[in-house]
């Protein structure tokens, strides 16, 4: 069961279901973009400037007595190591690509990560499990104040925090909430919600993968505007929209259960069967089944599987993690096989935990 131990070590703060509405909201993330006066933005800076910024930021955070942060240069990590940080949402793909000058400061519990020399000099990111916009913002704000007291921020009276991209100017804040919306997706209501939300200055998009599809029916709701509103206003508007989406999702779940309980049961138990016994699991199928099983747990149809399987396995079943665990590059089929094994073992844990469960052949 080396698998389980490996995963337990890799579980990070936001993956543990906790916080308000944790049956629907998986995590809350606040990101603040900040830059230093006197330096060009990463799009245009020299290697010397990049180096100096890295030093200034790490000195500011590590020498002040308040440690608890670890500084890692992208160049110190192998490609797989960078990829797993991306898969855990601790750094962005763009930072992982900044091999020469990117770095990250990670707090011990991994709830705060400060990306250095991504699109901006600093991206302060705070991820909490469940719906915790205020707590996550408070933590990000504290970290911001600490850094600001030691670094010369680029701030303008008229335009606020100056960022490389004009879409971040002002507060530099992107607040996002990751939500699991299987019922809204099944009933296709999500297709009406997405454009409606965008008219309110917010965006809904798939949280894993690229493009418009949302693997695992996991979506991210975030603010689009950063200028002309205070952080508190933005957070309140986002909280309002998310709570309305939650209400819709709950209603749709009840509706599905009331109208077609048998077919819903069939669906979630088939998914559980696939996850429990499949020998090859492509990631799209795994994501779909994980979403179904999680829905079954939320609705009380499946009782002996714990609810964080969706949060954890959506991360651990990605190719970077699997290859890191297996200790080398894998072919597509090997990936599907490794993914199936990982999920099987994770599900077998419940049997080991004493719950009655049919033996695996």
């Amino acid at each position: 069961m080396g698998n389980n131990e490996y995963m337990q070590n890799a579980v990070t703060g936001w993956m543990v279901p906790h916080g308000e509405h944790s049956d629907i909201v998986m995590s809350t993330r606040i990101r603040l973009a900040r830059n230093l006066r006197g330096f060009r933005f990463p799009i245009a800076f020299s290697d010397e400037q990049a180096e100096e910024i890295g030093k200034l930021v790490s000195d500011a955070l590590l020498n002040g007595g308040k440690t608890g942060y670890a500084y890692t240069r992208m160049s110190d990590l192998k490609a797989l190591g960078r990829q797993t940080l991306v898969e855990k949402h601790l750094i962005s793909p763009q930072l992982a690509d900044a091999v020469h000058y990117g770095a990250v400061l990670l707090s011990e519990d991994e709830t705060v990560s400060i990306m250095v020399n991504e699109e901006d000099h600093l991206r302060i990111q705070c991820i909490y499990p469940g719906l915790q916009l205020e707590n996550a913002y408070r933590k990000a704000d504290e970290t911001d104040n600490l850094l600001e007291s030691r670094l010369p921020y680029a701030f303008d009276e008229e335009f606020g925090y100056l960022t490389s991209c004009p879409s971040n100017t002002g507060t530099g804040m992107r607040a996002s909430v990751m939500v699991h919306l299987p019922a809204l997706t099944m009933t296709k209501q999500i297709n009406r919600i997405i454009p409606a939300v965008s008219r309110l200055g917010m965006v809904v998009r798939g949280s894993y993968g690229e493009g418009s599809e949302a693997p695992g029916n996991v979506y991210q709701v975030s603010n689009q505007l950063t200028l002309g509103k205070s952080e508190k206003e933005i957070l309140a508007e986002l909280a309002n929209i998310v709570s309305r989406i939650i209400v819709h999702e709950r209603k749709s779940r009840e509706l599905l259960l009331g109208r077609s309980r048998l077919s819903l049961e069939n669906r979630v138990f088939r998914a559980l069967g696939t996850l429990s016994y499949a020998r090859l699991l492509p990631s799209a199928e795994a994501a779909r089944c994980l979403s179904d099983v999680r829905l079954g747990i939320d609705l009380g149809l499946i009782e002996d599987v714990d609810m964080n399987i969706l949060n954890e396995l959506m991360v651990f079943m990605q190719s970077g993690f699997l290859q890191n665990f297996e200790g080398g590059e894998l072919t597509a089929e090997e990936l599907d096989s490794s993914r199936a094994k990982l999920i099987r073992e994770r599900l077998r844990q419940r049997a080991a935990d004493g719950e009655p469960h049919p033996d695996e052949p």
């Binding site: 933005f41 245009a44 007291s149 010369p152 100056l162 933005i234």
Partner: protein, 183 residues
């Protein structure tokens, strides 16, 4: 796909270059697009929405070719970015760009941020302090003028020294006074 110039970073901009043999498309990352000054944009193929948006806006209203040349395009003294180039790549090159393009930016921000052009959020503690110092200096200066006019020269000298002291603090930067908490 990797940037064809540095072959390191992923492509984020597709730029169309006019060559003697006809237009050529180049797939570039942000950094390379920023550094290569000779390209013009192909608005139909931009993968990034802000760039697409800004460049369409550029071609839509700001650019009649002669008008563009006749106009003096401001250039950032710090990083060399021109306003035209800013609209093409959709990114600023440095904090000084904001100062350089200040008069043109409200229109850009208005379009991107639903009509908003002014920051209403958090103000860094050190910046708040600076604002307070600036106000203090202004107040002392008026008092000094007043003292001079009423021939209270000793007091004017005291005020002058005080102003000097505040100005020194102001230029000392945020390391001096930024330790205060934001709230």
């Amino acid at each position: 796909m990797l940037c064809e110039n540095c072959k390191e970073r992923p492509v984020s901009v597709i730029l169309k270059q006019e060559t003697p043999g006809g237009p050529v498309e180049r797939n570039l990352c942000d950094q390379c697009a920023f550094n290569l000054q000779t390209f013009s944009v192909n608005p139909n193929q931009e993968p990034m929405s802000i760039q697409q948006f800004l460049s369409q806006w550029l071609t839509g209203e700001a650019v009649q070719p002669q008008a563009l040349e006749a106009q003096v395009m401001p250039e950032c003294p710090e990083c060399g970015l021109t306003f035209h180039r800013f609209l093409e790549i959709g990114k600023f090159g440095c904090p000084v760009c904001y100062e350089t393009f200040r008069e043109r930016l409200p229109r850009v921000f208005g379009k991107l941020h639903n009509g908003s052009t002014v920051h209403r959020g958090k103000i860094p503690a050190s910046f708040n302090e600076k604002m307070a110092i600036k106000k203090q200096i202004e107040f002392l200066r008026i008092s000094m003028q007043d003292a001079i006019q009423t021939e209270r020269f000793e007091q004017a000298a005291v005020l002058r020294d005080e102003i000097k002291e505040w100005k020194r603090k102001l230029s000392a930067g945020p390391e001096e006074g930024g330790a205060a908490d934001g709230e």
